[in-house]
Amino acid sequence: MSTDYDVIIIGGGPTGLASAVYTGRSLLKTLVLERQVPGGQIALSAAIDNYPGFADGISGYEFAEAFLKHARRFGAEIRIGVGATSIERNDDGVFTVGLSNNTAVTTKAVILAMGRHPRKLEVPGYEKLFGNGVSVCATCDGAFFRNVPVAVVGGGNSAVEEGHFLTRYASEIYSIHRRDSFTAQKILIEEYLQEPKVLPVWNSVVEEIYGDKEVDGIRVRHLMTDRVVEYPVKAVFVFIGWIPNSELVKELVDLDDQGRVIVNELMETKVPGLFAAGDLCVRPIYQLANVVADGVQAAVSVERYLENNKH
């Protein structure tokens, strides 16, 4: 039976692009759909220092470009700015994927690599002032806030890393975290807290981001005393976690209570021919090196599946 593609990879971040290298090398006709930017979340990162093999570090943009180039080298068709809006599987095992340009394509196998997006801060002012001082991308927006005080919200790797990046621009960085210590990699915490511009605000949460057309400040509540303090910051960079992009497949596959796709070691979902990998899934760890490995495993699983299901 003939389909438009052998495999469709939904998501063009490092996971999906790694899959595409392998499916391409297996001579499978591959389509990658990337609805925003290739490289996904890593394209936002200023510097990647922990991906083995890059001792001098590499920017998120360069990393994304490298993966894109590699996927293209082995023949993957990569549609940028185009997303999947629906997936259906018929009884013959053929998947029909609806696209955002109102067309549809068929395939024998699908790799879900949609990743995740930044969690929003559910406080007044976040939505209203998004893009006017509220940001989730330090490399995109840091330069607009030279020599002014800013806030960073969060306590993990992203908050600490991006907060550190902002020290080249901002005059002060109020680093707001609801716990009493960061959960980031130790070396990152050390570098961050050594910076005189960084002023940690522990055990605290942002209650409100205020300002008319742009951010003028935030109200922060200390969780133990309930005391509320105002910080006159001109920007708020939010790094408080991620939401998996699993909307598309919530009826098709099993999700955990956080909305992450459940997969086995071979990146199989409960649906034959439908595989999932990377940030989208339940994984013990979410590091570049791991999600890239997931992408490779998913591709190999696709190849095996197609071999075993030849019509």
Partner: protein, 116 residues
């Protein structure tokens, strides 16, 4: 240099953007913004699609400080659509289903013009 997307500057802003007889979509970007650079191919392909109907240009916010300040650009990428010298639409960040979303921004303006 891109084929379908011209660079505008503070200097030629008035002529290229405000005085254009077609809708003008301005892509505010900078070299240090990864997502901005990654969005470029999508903006390019939309520009090609609407050649002759709408004008798509980009402004480097590193090299031009007046226009970003004038239009309150404090986050990039930001896409601002102008018609008859006025801002009529704006999107901050990379939209999901970017090609369709950006096309729709232009389609809405073209539809209005047809009614007028």
């Amino acid at each position: 240099m891109s084929e379908f997307v011209a660079e505008v500057t503070d200097t030629n802003w008035e002529n290229e953007v405000l005085k254009s007889d077609k809708p003008v979509l301005v892509d505010f970007w900078a070299a240090w913004c990864g997502p901005c650079r990654m969005l470029a191919p999508t903006v390019e392909s939309v520009a090609e699609k609407y050649q002759g109907q709408a004008k798509i240009v980009k402004l480097n916010v590193d090299e031009n400080v007046e226009s970003p300040a004038k239009y309150g650009i404090r986050g990039i990428p930001t896409l601002v659509l102008f018609q008859n010298g006025q801002e009529v639409d704006r999107h901050v960040g990379v939209p999901a289903n970017a090609k369709e979303a950006i096309s729709q921004m232009i389609e809405r303006r073209l539809a209005e013009r047809k009614l007028a």
